[in-house]
């Protein structure tokens, strides 16, 4: 593959995938500004390894996972890989970029691995096998994480709705 052909393939991928990847990462991190930088960094790394990434079975998943890994170290440094406090929920309401505060809070309360599985399986619609390869875990482990995550999300969203009803 020549350099120009290579770049044109990457340009198409970047144009088609920027928004879907950004929305998924923003929903996972809760911050559009942070997601923007993480996704830009992930696309830069994708270009640096384009020979490999272009042959990846799910290049968007590669970008999303790289973006989330970039952010994970940032969250760890800030001690934020823990459940959110109420002020974070209020902050997400005021961002004005369409992030659903209730879903966002529920997602952020999941352990990191469960959240990654939800991002890949639900948001990127990957099958179990691809998700397992992407995360380097067994398909059975993906199923287990997904089941636990869905149970937790159901519980969180139901509790959030009940609170909203009581406040009315």
């Amino acid at each position: 593959m020549g350099v120009s052909q290579d770049k044109s393939g990457f340009a198409d991928f970047f144009a088609d995938s920027w928004e879907p990847c950004l929305t998924v990462v923003a929903a996972s991190t809760g911050s559009m500004a942070l997601a923007e930088d993480q996704v830009a960094e992930a696309f830069a790394r994708a270009w640096a390894s384009w020979a490999k990434v272009s042959r990846h079975p799910a290049p968007r998943a590669w970008v999303v996972r790289t973006a989330l890994n970039t952010g994970a170290s940032w969250w760890r440094r800030r001690g934020r890989e823990t459940p959110l406090a109420n002020h974070d929920i209020a902050a997400s309401h005021s961002q004005g970029n369409g992030l659903d505060a209730v879903v966002l809070t529920a997602l952020r309360r999941l352990p990191a691995r469960q959240r990654q599985v939800i991002v890949l399986r639900v948001f990127l619609d990957l099958d179990i096998g691809t998700t397992a390869r992407q995360l380097g875990i067994a398909p059975g482990t993906v199923r287990a994480h997904q089941a636990r995550a869905m149970t937790a999300l159901r519980r969180e969203l139901a509790a959030a709705r009940a609170t909203t009803e009581m406040e009315r």
Partner: protein
């Protein structure tokens, strides 16, 4: 899993996917910004690999010659790229240049000014002071673009993220240069950018606050690591 739970899962899946539909994504950055950043990664990897094999020989030679300090301070250069610990400056074929700053390293303002000028960017890079013209020349946004983009001229970067600045020297109005002031404040460092008239500007040691008054940009980033850490 029973039928009821399966049905609930599909409803939940739909609800989760729908939660993404309301998100307003900002405009994607220019492709050139991404590929420049990617090339810097690629070069960094290659430099690292080359460095592993060369390091032993170079370190031995430095010990014999007593040149360790010189080796540590020399920027790495290849075609169109200048790399130091504090910044990477990439010159592109179309005449633009991209600067990526590593905020964890103390910026050598004299070296950056020289390197920008080497790439055709007339710059006045100062530490602990900031120069501006009143009124400021027009055309700042044609000369400089930033990633992440400042909002109302201001951006506060989370720790670990590196700002990328793209310069278009061909768009610089005649008789102007780019003023680039770096302040080490507590608890952050601040970098201010404006265009100035080469023949008429004043400098102050007071850092601008709350974003630039006219066309320009202000970045706040975490302070560099203490020397030796």
């Amino acid at each position: 899993m029973n039928d009821h739970e399966q049905m609930t899962d599909s409803v939940l899946t739909r609800e989760l996917r729908q939660s993404l539909t309301g998100i307003t994504a900002p405009q994607r950055p220019p492709l050139e910004t991404i590929t420049a950043r990617g090339r810097a990664h690629r070069r960094h990897r290659l430099t690292g690999i080359a460095g592993l094999s060369a390091a032993g020989v170079a370190a031995g030679a430095a010990l014999v010659l007593g040149l360790t300090g010189v080796l540590g301070s020399a920027p790495a250069r290849d075609t169109g790229t200048i790399r130091t610990a504090a910044f990477i400056l990439v010159e592109h074929a179309n005449g633009t240049a991209t600067l990526t700053i590593n905020p964890t390293e103390l910026l050598d303002t004299a070296a950056l000014q020289n390197d920008l000028r080497h790439d055709g960017i007339r710059a006045l890079v100062t530490s602990g002071s900031f120069c501006s013209s009143d009124p400021a020349p027009d055309g700042f946004s044609q000369v400089v673009s930033f990633y992440p983009p400042p909002r109302s001229g201001f951006v506060r970067l989370p720790k670990g993220l590196r700002p990328t600045i793209t310069f278009n020297p061909a768009a610089m109005p005649a008789g102007t240069e780019l003023s680039f002031g770096v302040f080490q404040l507590t608890p952050h460092q601040q970098v201010d950018f404006v265009l100035v008239y080469t023949s008429s500007y004043t400098c102050t040691s007071t850092p601008p606050s709350g974003g630039p008054q006219g066309p320009g940009a202000l970045f706040q980033v975490d302070p560099p690591n203490p020397a030796g850490s």
